[in-house]
């Protein structure tokens, strides 16, 4: 516990800026993963325990695409499409068989997915730590805001995540697709009676959630080191985010992710050993006081 360091940082604008920017990029990445998790839960009613592995897969696919084409744009696109397709296949072949089974089977299937993907990554990309390096067009001198250093890539990440959040919000609330998805989440039987193929809605949502996780993995690749098993810690964090924000609520995921990101970056100055503890206490408090989360709706009947 070093509250002096935290106090010193809070009284110094440059430190505030630096910590806020690192907090915001963790939050941005966390949001992309958590948004997929929460969407899948909201529509399909299952928690995809393997979601972190999809993030990992995205990072590695992005790495390969980047090394092959030398373009970060192509790398992110390849990662989101590739992982999205993987999610689609996984959902159609395996996940759909356990929607009506009990939680035990859902857990086991996801457990198997994590084991298999971790080893597959080991076989294809090797077990050692890897890093992508900063893409060329982000190798500009960092910005100085109020004396704090903010790398250009950080700014890009934050803006990209906010744009995606905006697009998600628009698609879910203002378009026909969004209406269909919300209908399927609200009452799947009625939706299928109205002639909509809920199977494909489920598959589509799962694939989309996977694509978001893959995109997050590729976007994280320049600033995070990669190793098999890297998906598990982000899975736990994005779960905490979805609980705090409210299961099934995308805007809740955004609020929760930014909150956790900031707590993490400022907490690492003041009480590095206790950051995880704070997150858990926050989650436990939410679960006891308001189980539906900050922005979540009451659970569906």
């Amino acid at each position: 516990m070093d509250s002096n360091a935290l106090f010193n940082c809070l009284s110094d604008l440059s430190c505030i800026v630096t910590q806020t920017s690192t907090g915001l990029i963790s939050g941005a990445l966390l949001f992309l993963v958590a948004a997929g998790l929460t969407l899948i839960f909201g529509v399909l009613g299952v928690i995809n325990f393997g979601h972190g592995s999809l993030y990992m897969l995205g990072a590695y696919v992005g790495l390969s695409a980047y090394r092959f084409t030398d373009s970060f744009t192509i790398a992110t696109i390849a990662a989101s499409i590739g992982v999205g397709l993987f999610g689609l296949v996984f959902e159609r072949l395996i996940m759909r068989r356990v929607y009506n089974a009990d939680v035990l089977m859902q857990l086991l299937v996801c457990y198997a997915l994590i084991l298999i993907l971790d080893d597959a990554v080991k076989i294809i990309w090797g077990a050692e730590f890897q890093s992508m390096g900063m893409p060329e067009y982000f190798q500009a001198p960092p910005l100085f805001i109020g004396g704090g250093i903010v790398p250009v890539f950080y700014l890009f990440l934050i803006i990209a995540a906010f744009l995606i959040a905006l697009v998600l919000w628009y698609v879910l609330t203002r378009t026909h697709i969004g209406k269909v998805v919300r209908a399927a989440a609200h009452n799947p039987t009625m939706t299928s009676v109205l002639g909509l193929n809920t199977n494909w809605i489920y598959a589509g949502v799962f694939a989309f959630g996977g694509a978001l996780a893959g995109l997050a993995g590729a976007l994280a690749a320049p600033v995070r080191s990669m190793s098999p098993g890297m998906g598990f810690s982000i899975l736990i964090e994005s779960f905490i985010v979805t609980v705090i924000g409210g299961m099934g609520s995308v805007s809740g995921a955004l609020v929760g992710a930014l909150l956790i990101g900031l707590v993490r970056s400022f907490g690492s100055i003041g009480f590095p050993l206790f950051v995880e503890g704070i997150m858990f206490i926050a989650m436990a408090l939410i679960l006891v006081l308001k189980p539906s989360g900050l922005l979540g709706k009451e659970p569906r009947p």
Binding site: V46, I47, F49, I94, R97, V98, A101, D102, V103, L104, M105, Q106, L107, L108, V109, Y111, A112, L113, I114, L115, I116, D118, D119, A120, K122, I123, F232, S233, I236, F239, I240, V243, M247, L273, E276, G277, F280, M283, A284, L287, V288, P291, P299
Partner: protein, 322 residues
């Protein structure tokens, strides 16, 4: 009625124990003895989880918290305070009960999938505490330096045969105790809560309390399994509390079958055999295990003992009580 039927179980337990105790007189194969010692640990661990999963309908995915908790508490007590093994063991069980009380009080009120994820999250919190607090726990390296195996009551656990007998006796005793608890009125209340919580509440059962007691009991037994493992490997390692350990336990239950009391022990034995074969033949342990899990979860959809019960029912043409 209950007491009469329990006599049968006492008899079976005594018979199993007699066979297990006799084994070292016929074979001195280290592999067999080691297998039984590890089976005692994993068997208790899986059965304790089944109190929650099979009898309570609460699918915990963070049960390794108590396996590791027991192992670390025991190891630290032995290393730092130098008490005798039984006292340290009791301390480890009390530690698990305390953690179980806190975690359980928060978790058991939650719906199934929330419950699974929250138990997983608490376990990972414990894991990260173990890894970061390296001054006390040795961090990544684990609790090394050996746990002193001070002889007590004429038992020297440094000796493999003594360790084997100790593990067998503790294993059978714990299984018997769990069986007794699950066949008691409390065990049947737990089943009722699993099947219809609303009706149980209507009948005046305090659902939250029943679930919490089951959670704490299950934590205590998992602690014992961790203690056996800690004595056996003479240390405690972060892997004990890692999520894969919980995953394996869940799979042991599923593979063995959660409807028969002995199912988890059968599953534990099978998974240990699988693991031995897999790690002897390939370095990609996760890949092979993942495929086996998928085969069981999507193909068979049932555990081994479920198939045996089915066959038994076909042969005798009568129902079997679980």
């Amino acid at each position: 009625m209950k007491n009469i039927s329990f006599k049968k179980e006492l008899l079976i337990a005594a018979l199993c124990l007699a066979i297990l105790i006799a084994i070292p007189f016929f074979t001195s194969s280290r592999v067999t003895l080691d297998f039984v010692i590890r089976l005692a640990s994993y068997g208790i661990f899986a059965t304790s989880l089944n109190i929650l999963v099979g009898y309570g309908g609460m699918v915990s995915f963070g049960h390794a918290l108590f396996f590791g908790g027991g192992a670390y508490a025991f190891g630290l007590l032995m290393q730092k305070s130098g008490t005798s093994i039984p006292v340290a063991m009791l301390g480890a069980i009390l530690f698990c009960a305390a953690i179980g009380l806190v975690v359980g009080a928060i978790c058991v009120r939650l719906k199934e999938i929330y419950f699974s994820f929250l138990t997983l999250a608490f376990q990972m919190l414990f894991y990260s505490i173990i890894v970061t607090w390296s001054a006390l726990t040795g961090g990544d390296q684990g609790l090394t330096g050996g746990i002193p195996r001070t002889p007590f009551w004429g038992i020297n656990l440094g000796d493999t045969t003594h360790m084997y007998w100790f593990a067998s006796v503790v294993g059978i005793l714990c299984l018997l105790l769990m069986r007794y608890i699950l066949q008691s009125p409390f065990g049947y209340t737990l089943r009722m809560v699993r099947d219809n919580a609303d009706r149980a509440r209507f009948l005046g059962v305090d659902v939250w309390r029943v679930k919490l007691y089951a959670f704490i009991l299950s934590a205590c037994f998992a602690g014992v399994s961790g203690v056996i493992m800690a004595i056996f490997v003479s240390g405690a390692f972060p892997d004990f509390t890692y999520w894969t350990m919980s995953g394996e336990a869940v799979f042991m239950i599923m593979m063995g079958g959660l409807n028969a009391f002995i199912g988890p022990v059968v599953g534990a034995a099978l998974l240990m055999l699988f693991n031995d074969v897999i790690s002897r033949n390939t370095e990609y342990h996760g890949l092979a295990l993942g495929i086996i899990v998928l085969i069981f979860a999507l193909g068979f959809k049932k555990g081994i003992t479920d198939f045996i019960q089915q066959a038994y029912r076909l042969v005798t043409k009568k129902g079997v009580q679980s």
